[in-house]
Symmetry: C2
């Protein structure tokens, strides 16, 4: 670290409300404390790595650090997605910087890549797997054929899912990271809560099987797609064609596919979370901050600043065209496919492929009917599904997933 920073780096304080916890390593006497003011009041401390999750007290602590003249390094995407404008304004006001490489896709240097290395490009699209827990669960479900809740329990046992995995599996975590990337790449100011999102908690193992049969793997994709001045943003379980790099990302890995002009397509893959990947990103930020690179980047990027104008509008999700995977539960009798196909025809939606197998048991019970469409607007799909779901021979609500173009 000293070699890369060009000078020695001294660890002055470690602040934790719990100073008794077993850490597996020892700190020099006097370093560990539960008193944050020993950091705030020490003018010798120039840079603070703030690894505090959640929104409060993380927000208040960061504001205090900035106000007392510290540069801050953070891995907290929720905090930045929620309070970015306030925190970055405060940093600028006090002439300090916030570095946040670890907040998105831990081990992949995506913040530096989009913010600096690819900065001159007009980014057109970002397709990303940003939640390792979801990708681990989908990989296991698909590989072992186990259902969602059994797989979550297994992931929790292995440490790949938290005790309460809600934010991971419902798409919130990915939406927060997507909001940060969309701001970096498109100067889009979007509240992550406004990003349409569907989690993997709705995915049935049967749909993974049908997708595989059609030549696709299901991934929780975070998508930013610029068309003219309109930016489409969403997070949803999406069928991705097997053999493409994103489709083959397995386990807890993250991946990001960026298409920019002039660079073309660039693909990144690495571990998105965990101590190891996170520490690589945090220490890289620490060096960048100490040598002064962060201050330069922080000033030119003007993140979440009122001065950073964007011409990008967020696109109305209902108008966004796309391909869809749909599954209906229907009576096993003649004329059903014809009638459903007729509804699609009426809404000018063309059908790309159909899976309808012979029922395993001749019990006359309902059977699955899977239809993959060509490009259609989300609005048209909504209307067609409303009609189909109300037909007498259709049981329950239809299942839909996006298909990556």
């Amino acid at each position: 670290m000293a070699r890369h920073a060009g000078r020695p780096v001294e660890l002055v304080r470690v602040v934790d409300p719990d100073t008794t916890r077993e850490r597996g390593f020892s700190l020099p006497d006097g370093v560990l404390t539960d008193d944050l003011s020993t950091v705030l009041d020490d003018p010798e401390i120039g840079t603070v790595v703030q690894l505090v999750g959640g929104l409060e007290p993380a927000r208040s602590i960061m504001l205090k650090l900035l106000e007392s003249g510290k540069n801050v390094i953070s891995a907290n995407k929720a905090l930045l997605a929620e309070h970015g404008p306030e925190l970055f304004d405060r940093a600028r006001q006090f002439g300090r910087s916030i570095a946040f490489e670890a907040s998105v896709a831990g081990g992949i240097p995506i913040i530096a890549s989009i913010g600096e290395c690819l900065a001159v490009n007009q980014i057109h699209t970002i397709h990303a797997i940003l939640n390792g827990t979801s990708n681990f669960i989908l990989t296991e479900m698909s590989g072992r054929g186990t259902d969602y809740s059994a797989t979550v329990a297994e992931a929790q046992r292995c440490g790949y899912a938290e005790a309460d995995p809600t934010m991971d599996v419902d798409g919130s975590d990915a939406a927060q990271k997507l909001a940060i990337l969309a701001h970096l790449a498109f100067a889009a100011r979007v509240n992550w809560r406004e990003i349409p999102r569907t989690g993997i908690d709705t995915v049935d193992v049967a749909d993974l099987r049908h997708a595989k049969e059609l030549g696709y793997n299901v991934k929780l994709l975070a998508v930013a797609w610029l068309e003219a001045d309109e930016l489409e943003l969403h997070v949803s379980p999406t069928l991705v064609r097997q053999g493409t790099p994103l489709a083959e990302v397995r386990g807890a890995f993250n991946a990001i596919r960026v298409v920019g002009e002039p660079v073309g397509r660039v693909f990144f893959q690495g571990l998105g979370a965990g101590c190891d990947a996170t520490s690589s990103a945090v220490v890289s930020d620490l060096i960048d901050t100490i040598v002064g690179r962060t201050a330069i980047t922080f000033n030119t990027l003007e993140l979440w600043s009122e001065r950073r104008k964007s011409s990008v509008k967020i696109r109305d999700p209902g108008k966004v065209p796309g391909r869809y995977y749909l599954r209906f539960t229907v009576d096993d009798r003649p004329g059903v496919l014809a009638e459903i196909a007729g509804v699609f025809g009426w809404h000018k939606i063309s059908i790309a492929s159909v899976i309808q197998h012979e029922p395993e048991e001749e019990d006359g019970g309902p059977v699955p009917l899977v239809i993959m469409t060509h490009r259609a607007s989300a609005g048209a799909i909504n209307e067609a599904l409303q009609t189909i779901d109300s037909l007498a021979f259709v049981h329950g609500e239809s299942i839909r997933m996006r298909v990556r173009d």
Copy 2:
């Protein structure tokens, strides 16, 4: 560019010995000149993008630029691999910087990633596809079943191979890039000419077919592998297991797989050359240089400096263990496989798989015998092959390729 640089950037001069060439765009009056001294003697010009291929006059021009106080941006990996020590020393002596993101894997920000973002990691291995021309040719040969020379001719027609593609296809270009990466990642000072290299010009389409049958694709891999204090470096056509990210890199793309501690495995893919990818990297370097990030990085990296000590020794290639794909042309008669297997057993090399098909025509002519070994030292393989190639029923010289572990 002005937004990212935080100030306007003025293009003062474009120097080309040929000022009459059709460029497809127009320059303001007085900008285009064939006189380099208008740049050297203009103290207002702070940074020069030097896009001159080959060694001379590229080397002399860069030295003059540095001596007249310009920061330089280069895409010339041959120049850096050959004259790195001299050029970087001169830059330090005059307090200037050299930026070279475009010199390795164009559109992939690998210089920034290894030099800055992953700087704190102990890099263990780099496996990379660094020559787009070779990868394009291998992809075409494998996909279409066309032989090497027909595919090269096709690649030349499509603009994927130069009129004289020697440096691309014989592994020299990849070895130059590997030397730069090895210096960045391991502080290794290695002359690229000392890196053992085999090109794709020796690859037979039959071997691509056999590899596929064994579940592998053949890639021209540049490998840096640290074990204890010894660094293995080589460039060679290598069998890579299908379904792994490197194996699936097609066409003119480049890719780099880095394993570091603590970050784990990180994978990058993008276009390695061409105007578009190169310009993305060059303009990114230009911004970094203008805002001052390059100067900071350049100073801390101490590239090719005598002050940058490395404890890494280059490993003796004969001692490096690996798995091998071997093809022999043998008489089609009983006892042949037993005798060859016996030679391997004598040298303590174990066999992982064998392909021996029935001959297509019963003409009694020689047939191919393909053997894939488990890990063995290159020295042991050499000795075994020498013995086998001298057997009466073995025709011509055996073919060997590495297999990625």
